[in-house]
Point group: C2
């Protein structure tokens, strides 16, 4: 956690020891300067006196002495400043400054421990998923002084360029200074090597011998730690001291290049290269980003729901989004929350912003799936839809205004901020190739549109782990037929409506099978409750009534009858399929006819895995499976083609996990739907919990959002039970994970430990999953 | 399943064997009568020819022969009838009647097996929770004939009175007849003993010796089977044959008396007496019932959500219910569904009917808790609230109309149907006393009002297992203060509002502690989401705004901000308590001050168990517990009284069960909230599932409603894991169950197997639970 923890320099000085330091160093100015620095730093870090009080006194003094730089202050003035500082501390803390050096030491140690709990440390941990429980150590080091004269210096250096990854020393230093001077920016540091920005001499030029020693040391440290180093050093009278070295932070792009090059240089093995990269960070490489040098005005923040940057003109509803996009506008869709009815608008939009919903809200999941940048849960966003405007951070946003959003950081920016496209480059390809050599887990993608499938394949997906068929019902003609089916009051009318959807659905599957060229495709039968397909506004209901030649009242009655108090726990998944078996008939016929047709056209077998959602009881699966099998049989007879298919289920309910041994009797595969499984295991709706989950993480109740990182203790225990139960009944059962967690490295590690067969994630996260799978295999 | 399975009599007869039977019996009329009976019965049961076709032919024949009774038909006419019957069968089935006796036998056996799947058998099984998978056996018996002349007879008898339980032979018989004549009601049977209704001679009078033999046989059978018998017999030429005997069905009242008296007679042990009674049936004894002899018109049916009969004048909202009840009217509350806002009206009503919701919907749970009869899920009920009327079964029901409801059968009856109050009597007390001697499980009640607690104690509750504090916030002044708290935007305003509720809440607890006299009381802190307390109609919102001196807009904004997509999985339970710790402070202060005050007044210690709801993470419990402990400490200091209290949690989320070992570190007790645990384990909302759960049971996907009978495979697996985990950490942890299942005998058996400490159920089910607990201990 670089820069997050506190430090106290020059500890041990008091009115007595300062004299000895002055005498021993033969430099009273240096000794008194060190003493006043100590009082200032200890006063602030340990005693809590505000920093600016010291700075004000120092500035006053410099003003009276007519000097500009700290090191120009005369010794006597420094002695006066020390008195002022000591009085200031006494006044502010109601106690004299401690002169006993042991007291100083113990209090400083305590303060550094305490700094683990500082706000900035908490925020840093939250961003980097570092558990609070880890705690910190405190180092006590002897002092060396970079402020003993012009043969002294202090600085920081990176052994390679942390931004590009180029293998070239990169760092800054100050002559006659202590570490905090470099950080504080009072003086402008010079470059260590190459050319300084303001033509100040480089360390290489000033102290060529020390510089050479430093270069050699850097190489020794890189070789020793097998990683690029971030080094703090001090030169005391021409003698080089390394104060600290650690693995350096770097951009994702640099990380890839450094790992690959260090391996090529023989410094590390392929395994080490793979493990050196934080797989999660790769995500940032795959999407456009805000130009780091661009000017920007952040007017609101939310959750970084889908990475990448996007900009466009604001619209407040899906129809407008689609219409404007059609006429060539780039649009950003702003919604309080999204629903499946908004899909066409989400597809048309460059980016999506919602006022409500967490990392796995509808908007977030769909956006990640599409690779569309999204910021969700912007709670300060207040949308007044009728007025076609919104307010955020004191700004009024009107339809047509330009906004930019940064989905990787969860930021909303005013206007059009400059963006850039990151280059993947050769190093990336080499790394992915190594990852594929080392991983055991297969990586599939969650995809259903032609475009998604294309992206998934280009990123190296080895199959489709989740093809959600409900998204297919929202386009054009289909939604009308779908609604007609829902309004129908008997199975015959429903069949008639479904018959109109079937050819289109068959064409969807044909395209996917064709693209996938024999790779496995898991198709989930219809999952959401029917009311998600019905319009809720009166105008749209009237339209529907007109186009179905029925009355508004009937439509409204049906909408009311289908409404549920807790739709997440309602009439959906296989419950719906059992109530309306004609849906299963239509969908499996579309799947099998598509498979037979592609097989005929290409000569390649299509491996389709038909997945029944929301099973909690083995008998549910058995009864749905029966319809699927019968349909497969019929289609095989009709087409004369043998169809390779398997029937399996999502494991997304605790009961399914607990009775997996039974369910495996009817299932050739289990796919862990960890989004829903997390919801039911925690009894926590992802749509409603964004607000307090955040507080939970802040208060240490949860280490991280369980919808982003798999809860291995609770949800994981169920997955383990299900894997054991499934294998007990069917030793060769296929096991995979297709929730949002399929793209999360920590969760992928857990999948590797359980020996699952594959992970499936949104197309854009496939490279992340490939690397994480390799890391998991290596760590195991 | 008496009367549910099919039978074929006289099998083996054909044109050939009938001659032999005529010759051997020396009674052609008897032989041809048996043959035509066989064709008729076999034709109907095995070949599926409609019964009335045979009956019509028989009636035609009697009309032409000028006879009234079957046995008066001349032999030649019978021969003609047989020909008619054989032709009828051929015509209806397109095949001749089978004359091969082996074919007859195998087909009849198949038909009886098949009758396991008849509609009536399915319905019977559903009512009596008999799994379809049990299947049936088929008995093949040699024929004896009750229709060979006037020295022959057939009948059925109960060894005791199945209605009152009185130890007196009770039965009916017919001279010269076969079994189906008794059942079909063509001739009116006479009593076996005592006095026949129409002065027909009794069997005792007709055949005194055979009667004595029958009496002796009854005693032998009762002694052998240790239970009251339901016997079918035939007398063939003065010789008694027992065709069948089985344990007899009886009313609940009779069951209690028979068990107690048989034990007192030395026929069975106390253990046998206890095991002989279906504990579930006791429920019917504890509530008023519809007079079985009353005329009634059933206009609708729903779920038997809360037992007992009730009648009153229909109202459609809670306020009217309360107002009318206040002025002395008996009212029945008809609602589409109920919410906590309706509590006052539900309390005021004699009975409750809802159009939606299952056995554990809000209406059902609250009604059972109050002992108020309730029929829920009357899907045919269509309430048009504004018009103040409703339609059901073709009837328009207006406000003020009289309705009667039977909550034990789930029936809605037109008008005022005569009801009666069952008497518990001495036998009931003796039986309960025996149960208490044999059971290990303690029985507590779920109760929060003074009245509930009184009922619970009178029924023998040994503590309160669930005192729901949210119900306490809906009365009079409190709801306003509660709403004020919810509308508040900062902790200080919330504290001010809560301070007004606190004295009332303390008074609630004082009353309960005082009544319970040192028995344990488990108090659950506030559980439901806050929006349940806010009004949803615009008028009520305006009223609230006025009384809080704020704007309607603000109230509406707050209502909108608090609304949730899936409230069951939302911001409730300990999640709410952690967001608003001042609620925990107020509630625990009220609890502890009440405990201190009752201890001071009575000198008896009060054992209060403070229960934190919806815990899924140990840290949630730890943080809430800290507030409770601090408050307890403060109250002890302020009052100088030591307070006996424990802190524990509901286990109602899968994650809590899976991580029980951790949670037990902070919990002195676990109370299994099996309603919510069932919802989350199945991913099934009890409010939304009533409709398709019914179909699930009918289609054999589920054996029974998991909200009524604990799902031991899935939910039970979690309870087992939690009990093991809890005991591993804390061997003396108190374990109990407080969901609706606490009063269900099958679920109580499971609690006994796991060695839980107690079950807690609604006050009116306490006797059921006491008996079921004894049975479980004996069966274990």
């Amino acid at each position: 956690m670089p820069g997050m923890m506190d430090t106290v320099l020059n500890l041990g000085l008091n009115d007595e020891t300062v004299e000895a330091l002055a005498k021993n160093s033969d430099d009273p100015r240096f000794a008194y300067d060190s003493y006043r620095r100590f009082i200032q730093m200890y006063g602030n870090v340990v005693l809590g006196v505000e920093h600016h009080l010291f700075e004000d006194a120092l500035e006053d003094l410099k003003f009276h002495c007519h000097v500009e730089e700290d090191h120009e202050i005369p010794v006597d003035a420094l002695k006066d400043l020390i008195k002022t500082y000591l009085e200031l501390v006494k006044e502010e803390t109601d106690a004299p400054f401690p002169s006993n050096v042991h007291d100083q030491l113990w209090a400083a140690i305590g303060a550094v421990f305490q700094s683990w709990f500082s706000d900035r440390a908490r925020v840093y941990r939250k961003i980097h998923d570092i558990p609070e429980s880890w705690g910190t150590a405190v180092n006590v080091q002897a002092m060396v002084y970079g402020n003993m004269g012009d043969d002294c210096a202090t600085g920081v250096a990176f052994t390679r360029n942390p931004s590009s990854g180029e293998n070239q020393l990169y760092g800054e230093y100050l002559l006659n200074a202590q570490g905090e001077d470099v950080v504080a920016g009072i003086r402008t540091p010079a470059s260590i090597a190459g050319k300084s920005s303001d033509d100040a001499p480089t360390l290489e030029a000033c102290m060529p011998e020390v510089f050479q020693q430093f270069l050699d040391t850097c190489r020794i440290l890189e070789t020793h730690y097998h990683d690029m180093q971030d080094i703090e050093f001090t030169i005391e009278r021409h003698k080089l001291y390394i104060l600290q070295t650690r693995n350096a932070k770097r951009t994702s792009q640099a990380a890839v290049r450094i790992a690959v090059e260090m391996c090529q240089e023989g410094l590390i093995s392929k395994e080490q290269a793979l493990l050196q990269i934080n797989a999660r960070d790769l995500d940032g490489l795959l999407h456009p980003i805000i130009d780091p040098d661009a000017e920007k005005q952040v007017i609101g923040t939310g959750l970084p729901a889908s990475p990448g940057a996007a900009q466009g003109r604001v619209v407040f509803d899906a129809d407008t989004a689609e219409a404007w996009a059609h006429s060539g506008e780039k649009v950003i869709l702003l919604r309080t929350e999204t629903s499946p009815e908004d899909i066409h608008g989400m597809h048309a939009a460059e980016g999506i912003v919602t006022a409500r919903g967490g990392m796995t809200s509808h908007a977030a999941v769909v956006a990640r799936g599409m690779g569309t940048p999204c910021v969700s849960g912007v709670s300060a966003l207040n949308i007044v839809r009728d007025a076609r405007d919104a307010s955020l951070g004191g700004h009024v946003i009107q339809e047509g205004d330009w906004l930019t959003l940064d989905g990787s950081r969860g930021e909303i920016l005013l206007g059009q901020v400059r963006m850039m496209q990151p280059q993947l480059g050769e190093h990336f390809d080499i790394l992915m190739d190594w990852a594929d050599q080392k991983r055991r887990l297969k990586v599939r993608a969650n995809a259903e549109t032609e475009q998604d499938v294309q992206v998934a394949l280009s990123f190296g997906a080895e199959g489709i782990g989740l093809c959600r068929t409900e998204h297919m019902f929202f386009e054009g003609e289909r939604i009308l037929a779908m609604r007609e089916m829902i309004i129908s009051e008997n199975a015959d009318d429903r069949r008639r409506a479904l018959a109109r959807i079937q050819p289109m659905q068959r064409e969807d599957f044909r395209k996917i099978f064709f693209q996938m060229q024999g790779l496995p495709v898991t198709i989930r039968l219809l999952d959401p409750p029917l009311h998600e397909f019905l319009p809720h506004g009166k105008d749209e209901q009237q339209q529907l009534a007109d186009s179905l030649d029925t009355s508004l009242t009937l439509v409204q009655q049906r909408v009311a009858a289908l409404s549920e108090s807790n739709p997440m726990l309602g009439h959906r998944g296989c419950r719906l399929l059992l109530s309306y078996p004609e849906i299963v008939e239509m969908q499996s016929r579309a799947i099998f006819e598509a498979a037979a047709s592609v097989k005929k056209d290409t000569g390649n077998a299509v491996l389709c895995e038909v997945m029944v959602p929301l099973v909690g009881l083995v008998e549910e699966l058995r009864q749905v499976r029966q319809i699927i099998d019968e349909t497969a049989h019929k289609v095989q007879e009709e087409t004369g083609e043998t169809i390779e298919y398997e029937v399996g289920t999502m494991i997304e309910l605790p009961r399914a996990a607990l009775t997996a041994a039974q369910i495996a009797k009817e299932a050739s595969f289990f796919s862990f739907g960890t989004n829903d499984l997390t919801q039911t295991t925690f009894g926590l709706s992802r749509d409603d919990s964004a607000q307090f989950l955040d507080a939970y993480v802040q208060r240490g109740i949860l280490d991280c959002d369980p919808f982003a990182v798999l809860d291995t203790e609770g949800v994981g225990a169920l997955i383990r039970l299900a894997a054991e139960g499934g294998r007990a009944t069917r030793p060769d059962i296929k096991l995979g994970i297709c929730g949002e967690h399929g793209g999360d490295p920590a969760s992928i590690m857990f999948c590797e430990q359980l020996g699952l067969g594959y992970v499936s994630c949104s197309a854009f996260r496939v490279p992340v999953a490939r690397l994480a799978a390799a890391q998991a295999a290596l760590r195991k």
